[in-house]
């Protein structure tokens, strides 16, 4: 398949892995621990597991799976609010498919649907707007999720609704922004990360400049990376090269998609519709200042939070969860106390077990470590 196979070439992958291995082995020689590179984005996590990239790399380097799965980091209280809106009898709730299973404190959207709420999967917020035009007697709400990657399409849909005069469409806004979150991780005292793979599709919108502080203030290399296996391997090599040369810079491996200056019309649409919240709650990481956006007062008419009453309760993460430590690279998913026992993809306790882009779900689904762990658990419970 064009534009995909070129980036999955086994021979090129082998050559890159050879160079990465040589570099990493040299850099980590004599060190107490392997080099740690965080891939910020859940899309990268998925590729790493989907193609088994971990198996190709030497023990001298390891991936730390970052917070960039918006479905995973959604706190239970927000899911509860979404369910409450969906359960209004006149509401049609529209959502991306992978948000259906995210557990709230009482139920997920999938369970709400089974109990009679009208919840529909869409592939674009524009489909939700079309639905609103088709059902003028209903209130159509779009469950807006994601980082800067999906923000522009939601903003454009709100602008379109305004232009068309559609009044029965609104947005339940849970968009989050990546920079403050990476900063929060960098500020944590137990941080060990040596470099970053930057989120390619966020960068398609915001460009590469917003990451400069990571290189300058925190002295960590960052390479904006694409999502195919070769993209990830090349970006990893670029990070190691910087470490070898003692440099810390923001570099762009994903130039074919992500321009340095970002996408101006997309940024303008975001700025017109959204403003920063003072703080937003993340599953696993807690409250982070300026890490979420809400709708501006001028678009209050399209804001589901203002149009419907929601419980707006803060639900604490389960105490046994160690998602925060996994996110910071302090422990691996399978080292968490409840991994594969109390916390599984069927009954996720923690954020990272929720979506296939979450590190723990990826470990559970794709990695052999999970098998060993599950078998050990079965023996223990049988004994």
């Amino acid at each position: 398949m064009k534009y995909a196979d070129e980036f999955r070439d086994p021979d090129l992958a082998r050559a890159l892995v050879g160079q990465i291995t040589r570099l990493a082995d040299t850099l980590a020689a004599g060190a107490a621990r392997p080099l740690q590179v965080m891939e910020v984005c859940g899309g990268h996590t998925h590729t790493i597991f989907r193609y088994g990239l971990k198996d190709l790399l030497p023990p001298s380097i390891e991936f730390v799976h970052g917070p960039g799965c918006p479905v995973c980091v959604l706190p239970m209280g927000r899911v509860d609010d979404c369910v409450a809106i969906a359960e209004h009898p006149q509401v049609i709730m529209t959502t991306f498919g992978d948000a259906m299973r995210v557990p709230g404190s009482k139920k997920s959207l999938l369970q709400a649907k089974a109990e009679g709420a009208d919840v529909r999967i869409v592939y674009s917020p524009l489909d939700a707007l079309k639905l609103a035009q088709k059902h003028p007697d209903k209130e159509v709400v779009f469950f807006g999720l994601g980082f800067e990657t999906t923000m522009p399409s939601t903003a454009m849909t709100v602008l379109q609704a305004e232009a068309l005069g559609v009044r029965n469409f609104s947005l339940f806004c849970n968009h989050i922004t990546i920079i403050p979150t990476v900063k929060a991780i960098l500020d944590s005292p137990d941080l060990q990360i040596d470099g970053f793979l930057g989120p390619g599709h966020v960068s398609m919108v915001i460009g590469t400049r917003p990451y400069e502080f990571i290189a300058q203030r925190y002295r960590r290399p960052l390479v904006v990376a694409g999502f195919e296996p070769l993209d990830i391997l090349q970006s990893l090599w670029m990070v190691l090269k910087q470490i070898e040369e003692g440099r810390c810079a923001v570099e762009n491996q994903y130039k074919r998609i992500a321009p340095e200056g970002g996408n101006a019309p997309a940024l303008e649409a975001i700025a017109r519709v959204f403003e920063l919240r003072e703080f937003f709650e993340w599953r696993g990481l807690g409250s982070i200042d300026h890490s979420g956006v809400r709708m501006r007062q001028s678009y209050a008419g399209y804001d589901a939070e203002r149009r419907f009453s929601v419980p707006n309760l803060k639900i604490a993460d389960p105490k046994s969860c160690q998602c925060g430590e996994v996110l910071k690279g302090v422990i691996k998913p399978h080292q968490c106390k409840v991994f594969g026992t109390l916390c599984t993809p069927e009954t996720p306790l923690g954020a990272l077990m929720v979506s296939s882009e979450g590190a723990c779900a990826a470990y559970h689904q794709y990695s052999r470590i999970a098998i060993v762990r599950r078998e050990a658990a079965a023996v223990t419970s049988a004994g």
Binding site: G52, L56, I121, Y123, S367
Partner: protein, 344 residues
Amino acid sequence: MSGLRNKSITMAHGGGGRAMRDLIEKLVLPAFDNPRLAPLEDQARIGLNELAELGDRLAFTTDSYVVAPLFFPGGDIGKLAICGTVNDLAMAGAVPLFLSCGLILEEGLPSDDLERVLASMGREARCSGVQVVTGDTKVVNRGAADKLFINTAGIGVVPRGVDIAATRARPGDVVIVNGSLGDHGVAILVARNELELQSSIASDCQPLHGLVQAMLAACPDIHCLRDATRGGLATVLNEFAVASKVGIRLEERALLLKPEVRGACEMLGLDVLYMANEGKLAAVVPRAQAQAVMAAMRAHPAGADSAIVGEVTAAPAGHVILNTPLGGERVVDMLVGEQLPRIC
């Protein structure tokens, strides 16, 4: 044009009276036309002796079909209802013989649609060499069903000496699949028109009993056989691995995907290993007979693209591992929840 007086199905067509009689005589009997059905008794009668000539065990199965939309490229709910049940019988190595047909019709279903579906069932039954010998029709209020649901049960006879079971995979055996994966799942996704995708992909819906007979002729000792319908190849192989307490190792690059299927899966973030098929089987056969089975499969129209896609290993017992083309590996687990709703 439908042979019925009414353009759409009404509650009367399930009421046991004249309208129902009309439906059976004008639509059902002509479609299935066979001497066991014609007397319209409450049951079909099948001589035991004629069954016993074919083997020593009866295979008996049932399946319900609720696919939306009713018509899709490569088939329709009627063709599916025949092939699906024929294939469930075939996976025991059985010769499929007789089917029942239970229809649940939603009030308001266009009579023409019903006629088309029944004609398709009749055609497929004749092609597959099975007879629909008994049936039932119910009509439910509008909204109580989605246009048309079909249940077919089927019986067949398993030839003496054939012993196919999910528990029989042994380390060293090879895994064979008879062609491309995910065609049905993608055809249905596209036919639903919710994604505004266009594609020429057709469902792979087809009967497999002929192929299975050819395989058994080449190797009577086939160990495991299942059609990879809902849940796809991943689910079937996990079932084998668990039931046989063995591991299964798949080679990703040996799996055949049509470019359109691959494109749709890439774009929608779906894993083809979990996509539904309606004309694909996974077979576990002893390595010594693998080439003979492959040759027999490739010589059959339903198996022209057959390939060895993996092997059975001793460990890790109960799990399926996939070798990626880049040289890594990943576990192929059972699906948690659904990829997408209701596709067969």
